[in-house]
């Protein structure tokens, strides 16, 4: 692929992104408290900024960065989404289109004027009312039982990295399932014979758990289920059966003859 092709691909995607942003802004104007729409606008602006910078559209990247920052504040609940703010970004979005279609034009004055309007809209947007503020999501306990594809290790998947990502989501209790480890004579050291049973307490949504497994989700065995509220977690609850001791392709934290807990 030539660099010209890459820029053309960027232009096509940038135009699509602008359309998506515009539609989300128009919808948002009618439903100012719709957090999904706020996220959609933010993600669109974020991608446009990053891709623009990558393909040399520096003026676009710099200008979009300001709009993205403003919407990041809405996303974080620091300022409310208002019609004035949505209108300011809609105005800015037309300007972004010009920065894409004719990046060499002189847009300094227009950029300054639009950013002043954006700043005024952000300043005028009061913090969300307490009742409308995003509530801290409640903690939820999840049971995540998974077994990676046999060729996961050969294909560069790091099970410990996946477990660490789950740990980053909240408090984890991790138990290795060693029941499928074959006898030594039958063991293929390049295959992943372990499974894991994770009890995760987190305020993150299910999608955050699924994101951990994004590259292997389609090929693996995984069951993600909600359990009771955090206080109902039984710390001693057995999760997997004891297995005969045998070397494992994916090393657990300690030699395994029984389920192992990895508290965090």
């Amino acid at each position: 692929m030539s660099s010209l092709d890459a820029v053309e691909i960027f232009l096509v995607e940038a135009r699509d992104l602008l359309e998506q942003i515009e539609q989300a802004l128009l919808d948002l104007n009618g439903r100012l408290d719709d957090r999904d729409l706020v996220d959609t606008v933010f993600r669109g602006l974020h991608t446009l900024k990053g891709s623009g910078a990558m393909f040399g559209f520096d003026a676009l990247a710099e200008f979009t960065h300001h709009c993205e920052s403003a919407f990041d504040r809405v996303r974080k609940g620091e300022v409310a989404a208002t019609s004035a703010l949505v209108g300011a970004i809609l105005d800015a979005q037309d300007h972004m289109r010009a920065l894409i279609e004719d990046p060499k034009g002189d847009y300094a004055a227009a950029s300054q004027r639009l950013l002043a309007g954006l700043n005024a809209a952000v300043s005028g947007a009061a913090p969300p009312e307490p009742g409308a503020a995003p509530q801290a999501p409640a903690l939820q306990v999840w049971s995540i039982r998974f077994r990676l594809p046999a060729n996961a290790l050969v294909n560069g998947v790091n099970p410990l990295g996946l477990l660490n990502e789950l740990r980053d989501l909240g408090e984890c209790r991790i138990v290795a399932d060693t029941t499928k480890i074959p006898d030594l004579e039958a063991l293929d050291p390049t295959e992943c014979h372990l499974g894991w049973d994770v009890t995760l307490t987190t305020d993150q949504p299910r999608s955050a758990i699924e994101d951990v497994f994004i590259f292997v989700m389609d090929d693996m065995d995984i069951v993600i289920e909600t359990l009771d509220a955090p206080e109902a977690v039984a710390p001693e609850a057995p999760v997997v059966a004891t297995a005969p001791s045998a070397p494992a392709a994916a090393p657990p934290p300690k030699p395994a003859a029984a389920p192992q807990e990895v508290p965090t």
Partner: protein, 122 residues
């Protein structure tokens, strides 16, 4: 020591974009201009991760991945492919060839770094 990454792409601009993004995040980046060059450089050096395009002259990315996976030294080395086609069929072909993950072009440099950190397990 920073992780060492091989960037395989026939587009110089994409290689530069990858190099800028990853060098800024502290990775050491080497370049290869197509799949055959990628196989040669991967076998001659030692890389913690490979980022590759799929559509390249001389040898495409799928063939390069298959060839590297046949080499015991390159089993387990994470390989991320960049693609402009986000369809499931291509992802499946690349995964079947032995790829670890993917990123759709044009990519956000922050996204690339995030995915590499994810795949390397930090």
């Amino acid at each position: 020591m920073s992780a060492s990454i091989l960037a395989v792409d026939d587009s110089a601009s994409i290689r530069v974009a990858i190099k800028i993004a990853l060098s800024g995040a502290g990775y050491a980046v080497s370049e290869a201009v197509n799949g055959a060059d990628g196989v040669e450089k991967a076998k001659a050096g030692s890389y913690d991760l490979i980022v590759t395009d799929l559509n390249m002259p001389v040898m495409d990315g799928l063939t390069m991945i298959e060839e590297l996976r046949r080499s015991p030294a390159h089993m387990g080395v994470p390989i991320i492919f960049l693609t402009t086609e986000s369809d499931a069929a291509l992802k499946q072909r690349a995964k079947a060839a032995g790829a670890t993950g993917w990123l759709t072009k044009p990519f956000d440099p922050e996204q690339l770094v995030k995915i590499i950190k994810k795949v390397l397990g930090r």
